[in-house]
């Protein structure tokens, strides 16, 4: 009910007696009371008031209002006098500091039956909250209009019989009041909250809330006699954890205010007014701890907590619930949601500080340990990467080319590969997979690699190498780890391969002459478990252009997000479409296929892939010239000499030869400069054939797709030296040859040119 109307009703037509020094002055209490629509009689001193009351009868008045600065017997003295006389003992009395008269305080006096209200325990409550008394007074004054609003809203909700709404509103009011030290209002609001929850009568509890509310407001109004508090300038946080950030989440501004003021000397404080903004704030800048209210509009505290705990990025941020829900089931629910602690309101600031500090210290320690571990793992990963060969150009021997990759599932892993020369004709190839992952597997991997390298130099036979490695590992293996190994020795001038397998999946043979197939029929026994095992040896020969592709089960057992396995069949089908690529490209393609298949799923196992190709695929050539070049201008010069020699020896006319050489120069220098961009290990194949009336030239490279026929011709409108460079070479080559065709196949650019041996003289 609106205060003025309530006042009128409470007074029931009776007058108000105002006692102040100068009641007739403008701006007097009497004047402000009249402005409220009340009937006012005034007295200028205590004795005059007593006289008036005796003369006109105490029942004529419903309320006595005393000015706080009354001279003579003073307001306190007059009040004592009124209490002392039976006729006036029950008369409501209120002392006000001055005009204007606060109707709420007046109502409070009327309602309270004139009893002397205890003043607000500012000192005690300030201490509890860790604030200076003027700060708390300021917060209370800021709260007063909000409380009036809450009371009005509550009355409306109860009148509308909205039990759920009334419960929420009562809960909020109880929390705020409790926080600020208004215990009576807190208890009354709590009672209304429970009544709403249990479906009981709401009117009586509402009346109690309104009474307690008015009492509290009256107490707050009395605090006006204090000088307005100077805002304590926020100093920078101090202490060992001063750089930690605490996020305070509560939808009631007063609560946020109290906590922020109480904690800001110790930590950096961020605030959020509801669940959604809290989540956004965390995503933007993760705090070191969250102080979380539970009852909030939208997402409640439990849900915010659950979401933060689900996300790996925020899982480790400690969450402390700070709530006026103080029953055991509420607390249990909080801990189940993942909270580290639960503090009930009204809180003791000392306790909040102590618990927050303890949690932040624990988290700081956890972070330090993790950082130490991660930095050590980073170093370990680099060491492990450095153990396996990566300079494959240096290992290229004669017609044999190789490439490999190693991708641990975690920082370090147990897969391994190795490629090293036994002598200038033989290359030793190894791939393996230690049981398990992570640090233990990595240590065992290093031991295995070292053993293999040492033993291989003594014995060049894979079956013997595996047997002796097995004996050495099995001898001293308390944790019963084991490794699957495939070991082979390749004769680089013949393609002959001797190999043995220790429980490792068979590598595949991938070549131009058929679908990919396994190299070995049997897998043999695991290495490192039992000493004295014999490993069967197998011999095969790589055909020219054939690749041995070895891999670990991180490839075939890769899982897609919906749980499917990549599998042998899919791997073979994939390689079937890429039978003639160079080892570097083959390995890259397989790894890319695994990554694409796995999609968003985490890499479950270590991956190692090793590809070794013998020779290059040759096309049957009747009397032609076939050249393998590296992408260097020196190789181009040598190739040009070979072509010149070949053609001159076969009587190719000079002008045709010139045009062929010029086309070769233009096309290959483009591949070297633009295709391989200076990567000297790039491969280029040149094939030249003499037909009866023309020369056929085919140039292949494995660089990025580029179709010279698609390039725009130079702009001849512009003068030669103003044109951008480029395009000239291809243009020349096209002009000098009779046909030029481009194809992209097998991962290669393939350009075919023909030039007639004899051109008509008019050309």
């Amino acid at each position: 009910m609106e205060p003025r109307a309530a006042l009128a009703e409470a007074l029931g037509g009776r007058s108000v007696l105002v006692v102040e020094r100068e009641p007739d002055a403008g701006g007097s209490l009497a004047a402000s009371l009249r402005a409220l629509g009340l009937t006012v009689a005034s007295a200028g001193s205590g004795p005059e008031a007593l006289l008036r009351l005796a003369r006109e009868g105490e029942t004529a008045f419903g309320l006595v209002v005393l000015a706080g600065d009354l001279p003579g017997m003073g307001a306190a003295g007059l009040e004592r006098a009124l209490r002392g006389r039976p006729e006036t003992r029950a008369l409501p009395v209120v002392t006000l500091p001055g005009a204007p008269a606060d109707p709420v305080a007046l109502l409070g006096a009327l309602d309270g039956g004139g009893r002397a209200m205890p003043p607000f325990d500012l000192a005690g409550q300030s201490a509890r909250l860790g604030l200076a008394p003027p700060e708390l007074a300021e917060l209370l004054h800021a709260f007063a209009p909000q409380a009036v609003q809450h009371l009005a809203d509550l009355a409306q909700l109860v009148a509308a019989r909205d039990a759920a709404g009334a419960r929420r509103e009562a809960h909020t009011l109880a929390g705020a009041a409790g926080n600020l030290g208004g215990a009576a209002l807190q208890h009354a609001a709590r009672a209304l909250e429970h009544a709403a929850r249990d479906g009981g009568d709401l009117d009586a509890p509402l009346a109690a809330v309104e009474r307690a509310g008015r009492d509290l407001l009256a107490s707050i109004a009395r605090l006006a006699v204090e000088a307005p508090a100077a805002e304590r300038a926020p100093a920078a946080p101090r202490g060992e954890l001063a750089d930690r950030r605490v996020l305070v989440v509560d939808d009631v501004p007063t609560n946020v205010d109290i906590l922020a003021r109480a904690l800001r000397d110790d930590y950096r404080i961020t605030i959020a007014g509801d669940g959604e903004s809290a989540l956004r704030s965390v995503a933007h800048a993760p705090p070191d701890l969250v102080l979380l209210d539970i009852m909030m509009p939208g997402l409640d505290g439990y849900e915010v907590c659950r979401r933060l705990k689900r996300d790996p990025a925020t899982r480790d941020i400690p969450i402390v619930f700070l709530s006026s829900l103080d029953e055991a089931p509420d607390k249990a629910k909080g801990f189940e949601a993942g909270a580290a602690d639960y503090i009930t309101k009204p809180f003791e600031i000392l306790e909040v500080r102590a618990r927050v500090g303890a949690l932040l210290r624990a988290k700081a320690y956890q972070d330090a340990v993790r950082e130490l571990l991660e930095s050590e793992l980073r170093v370990a990963r680099e060491i492990q990467r450095g153990l396996v060969p990566r300079d494959f150009a240096a290992l290229t021997t004669g017609a044999v080319e190789c490439f490999a990759c190693l991708e641990p599932a975690r920082a370090v892993g147990g897969d391994l590969y190795d490629v090293f020369r036994l002598d200038d004709r033989r290359l030793c190839l190894v791939i393996g997979d230690v049981s398990g992952k992570g640090i233990p597997a990595a240590l065992f991997m290093v031991m295995t690699l070292t053993l293999i390298r040492g033993i291989a130099r003594l014995s060049g036979r894979p079956d013997e190498i595996l047997a002796r490695v097995n004996d050495a590992l099995a001898a001293d293996n308390p944790s019963s780890m084991f490794v699957t190994l495939f070991c082979a020795v390749l004769e680089t001038d013949s393609g002959r391969l001797v190999c043995a397998s220790g429980g490792h999946p068979s590598p595949l043979l991938v070549g131009p002459d058929g679908a990919p197939r396994p190299a070995l029929a049997t897998e043999g026994t695991l290495v490192g478990v039992l000493p004295g095992v014999a490993y069967p040896s197998a011999e095969l020969a790589l055909a020219p252009g054939e690749t041995l592709l070895a891999y670990t089960d991180g490839v075939t057992e890769a899982r897609s997000p919906d749980g499917g396995l990549l599998g042998d069949a899919r791997l073979r089908a994939f390689l079937d479409g890429r039978r003639t690529g160079a080892p570097r490209e083959t390995v890259a393609h397989v790894l890319a296929a695994v990554r694409t298949f796995a999609g968003t799923a985490e890499q479950a196992d270590d991956i190692a892939i090793l590809a070794v190709r013998y020779g290059t695929p040759t096309v049957p050539d009747a009397g032609g010239l076939a050249l393998e070049l590296r992408a260097t201008l020196d190789d181009l010069a040598r190739a040009s000499e070979s072509v010149r020699g070949f053609c001159e020896a076969r009587g190719v006319p000079a002008d045709a030869l010139h045009d062929v050489l010029l086309s070769l120069d233009e096309v290959v220098s483009n591949i070297v400069t633009h295709g391989y961009r200076g990567d000297a290990s790039g491969r280029i194949t040149v094939r030249l054939a003499l037909e009866s009336d023309h020369v056929r030239l085919e140039i292949r490279d494995e660089a990025a797709p580029f179709d010279p026929l698609g390039a725009a011709p130079p702009d001849f409108q512009v003068s030669a030296d103003a044109r951008p460079p480029g395009g000239l070479g291809v243009y020349l080559a096209r002009a000098l040859t009779d046909s030029m065709e481009y194809e992209r196949a097998g991962g290669e650019n393939r350009l075919r040119l023909t030039r007639a041996l004899r051109r008509p003289a008019s050309e």
């Binding site: 233009e666 220098s669 243009y731 020349l732």
Partner: protein, 126 residues
């Protein structure tokens, strides 16, 4: 084929003659560029390229020659070419480099042109 170079300067110090020989292709074009650059700097008014000994020119070589011509022209000098072999001339023609250049069939023609320019300007040719 490798590229060799012979360089001579005219008595009046205004004209330099370069005689490359061999193949001017992607491998040897940088050599020509290296040799020409110091010659072009300074107050040179005419650079003569006598291409009699050049049997092969690729677009890389043509680019070096065009660049030299432009550098000279920026300083008010000119590049004169003579004695292109037929296959080489064909390459120049295909890339339409000819209209921009002063190309002469023989050294005598070139010298006549030079002398005429000097007479006309009363000094070094533009």
């Amino acid at each position: 084929m490798p590229l060799t170079l012979r360089v001579s300067k005219d008595a009046d110090g205004q004209t330099v003659r370069v005689h490359p020989a061999g193949s001017l292709d992607s491998t040897t074009a940088p050599t020509l560029e290296r040799e020409l650059t110091p010659l072009i700097g300074g107050t040179l008014k005419a650079l003569v390229l006598d291409m009699e000994g050049v049997t092969f020119v690729s677009s890389a070589g043509i680019r070096v020659i065009l660049a030299a011509r432009k550098q000279l022209a920026d300083r008010g000098g000119s590049l004169l070419i003579a004695n292109l072999q037929p296959s080489v001339a064909k390459a120049f023609e295909i890339v339409r480099a000819i209209p921009d250049m002063s190309i002469f069939r023989s050294i005598d023609e070139l010298d006549d042109y030079l002398a005429a320019m000097q007479r006309k300007a009363g000094g070094p040719p533009r």
